[in-house]
């Protein structure tokens, strides 16, 4: 299976703290993406990092990619209660795979006010 793995499965922190989630995958990728899912809602795209990139920032989000270790991490700085959600990494193996995304199991983040 190409499915990635995420850890931790659940993370509970206080507002203002940083949250780090990790993702590992099995075969070479075209890009890796992170998505957020609020309870009962659809997924929202957060950030995409290409296989030739090592780090990317978007607001309070920082994503790193280590292709030698086949792993990525998502850091959310200065977390807020509104960041409470499930976070998924998704790997894209390129147009030859029809653009399909392979999702990890997700990390459930709870930010307490």
């Amino acid at each position: 299976s190409q499915q990635g793995e995420e850890d931790p499965q659940a993370l509970s922190i206080q507002e203002g703290e940083n949250a780090t989630m990790n993702c590992s995958y099995k075969t070479s990728i075209n890009n890796l993406q992170w998505y957020r899912q609020n309870s009962g809602r659809g997924l929202v795209h957060l950030i995409l990092i290409r296989s030739n990139e090592r780090e990317k920032h978007s607001g309070r989000l920082r994503v790193t990619l280590d292709t030698s270790k086949k792993s990525s991490s998502l850091l959310i700085t200065a977390s807020r209660a509104a960041d409470t959600a499930s976070y998924f990494c998704a790997t894209d193996y390129g147009p030859n795979q029809g653009g399909k995304l392979i999702f990890g199991q997700g990390t459930e983040l709870s930010v307490k006010p």
Binding site: N30, P95, G98, F103
Partner: protein, 112 residues
């Protein structure tokens, strides 16, 4: 304006019935997808269409039949529903090669 919409939002039906879920996107994308999310939140690709042509069929039972009347619509018809079909079904769209996908709000299907 809703980018990717799905109807219905909730669907409760009995085993053996046939049901359809509709999806529409107004983003002008050329690729649309169906994903299934189970009770443990595991998301798995089911189908992908590019310009009305089936690109991906991920070993989904042939009781599931997608149909794309035009590139803005991708519907999912399910025959002879089974208990194990209970899940949340998400439609998504993207521009081929762009990577980023836009998801609909999901359809929660419950088979009793």
């Amino acid at each position: 304006d809703t980018a990717v919409s799905q109807t219905p939002k909730y669907l409760v039906t009995q085993m053996g019935n046939d049901k359809s879920i509709k999806c529409e996107q107004n983003l002008g994308h050329d690729t649309m997808y169906w994903y299934k999310q189970d009770s443990k939140k595991f998301l798995k690709i089911m189908f992908s269409y590019n310009n009305k042509e089936l690109i991906i069929n991920e070993t989904v039972p042939n009781r599931f039949s997608p149909k794309s009347p035009d590139k803005a619509h991708l519907n999912l018809h399910i025959n002879s529903l089974e208990l194990g079909d209970s899940a949340v079904y998400f439609c998504a769209s993207s521009q081929a090669g762009a990577g980023e996908q836009y998801f609909g709000p999901g359809t929660r299907l419950t088979v009793t």
